[in-house]
Symmetry: C2
Subunit: 193 residues, 2 copies
Amino acid sequence: MRTTVPGMALEHAILVSLAERSASGYDLARRFDASIGRFWKASHQQIYKVLGRMEAGGLVTSEAVAQEGRPDKKVYSITDDGRAELADFTRAPTGPEVLRSDFAVKLRALPFGDRDALVASVRKRRDEHAATLADYEASVERFYPDPSAIAPEHLGAYLVLRGGLRTEQGGLEWCEEILQALGADDSARRAAR
Amino acid sequence: MRTTVPGMALEHAILVSLAERSASGYDLARRFDASIGRFWKASHQQIYKVLGRMEAGGLVTSEAVAQEGRPDKKVYSITDDGRAELADFTRAPTGPEVLRSDFAVKLRALPFGDRDALVASVRKRRDEHAATLADYEASVERFYPDPSAIAPEHLGAYLVLRGGLRTEQGGLEWCEEILQALGADDSARRAAR
DNA sequence: ATGGACATGTAAGCCGTTACATGATTTG
DNA sequence: CAAATCATGTAACGGCTTACATGTCCAT
């Protein structure tokens, strides 16, 4: 059986999105900015290219839709073949996730680099994690106020959001640990005054 | 100023590795399997290609070393230009990390896929996280038995290891949450008997 | 003799980013 | 009148993977 390799899943991410609702390439790009973009990024260029390939492969079909006061759009829908491919995907073993962290490389470069600049990077990253975390928490509050009563069709999306939340929380705590180890946390600053 | 884009950092990962110790391409590939490979993967093919480009750019130099009973090797060392580039890298702002998780796509595909297969995937992933976590914990015990007394030149490596540890811990807990939400955790299985 | 570790590469092709290109409509 | 939003693409380039290619030494 074919193993799912990271980097090949853009098609599957699009299939999931279209299985939830038909959409144009433009719509998909915006969805990838918002909900699915929490764990997957894709530019519109890439999406158009992949959609073309997928249509040729019979996984999706498109229909031109005229609009008033706006350009026409091509609305893509998932086909039965696409649904079958998606089901196959969930059955394929997941390969190991490839980690690629510029941040970790930078940390590792600490003895050869600029310590103050690194501290500034870590602070910025900490703040970004905090902001994203707050955003995710707001989403949970808004969309899943009662986690014990989530409809089965929303469970996957909820669990992904929970994963994002955990990732941000973990990243935030890591940054705080780093700042403390570098003697650059806020308590150290207060003591230095 | 140039922003550090994920996907361009293989050069910097190699520079860090060579700054710590000169090595052949083969050595680097093995290092990437072991220590640095905790947060960065690279194949030997890719490494040879990048080393060639870096040598042309003056970031590294190579010296052929004859060995007895083994093929000759080309040992690469970092140059002053390479060290300057590495320092610049630590000063460059870090771009947002791109998340690409096949696993999250699969989770999100839950309503359109095979639930049992997904549960099996999650269990496998949970076990992998547990194994990697144990490995990292052993490394901490072995190399940093006293975290309050870490030499400054090892601090970056230690903090990266801590990050890996946190990531694995977080991934493990997420898997457990997923299994529980799917009614597939061990307590549910016991209750079902 | 078979396979694994050591050692270094080339070639083909996909994936993805950046830059470029076009054109209408709405908002400030 | 400039900018943002809507809408869809092409072209060039670089990163990375997979497959292919070669050759030695050592252990079983």
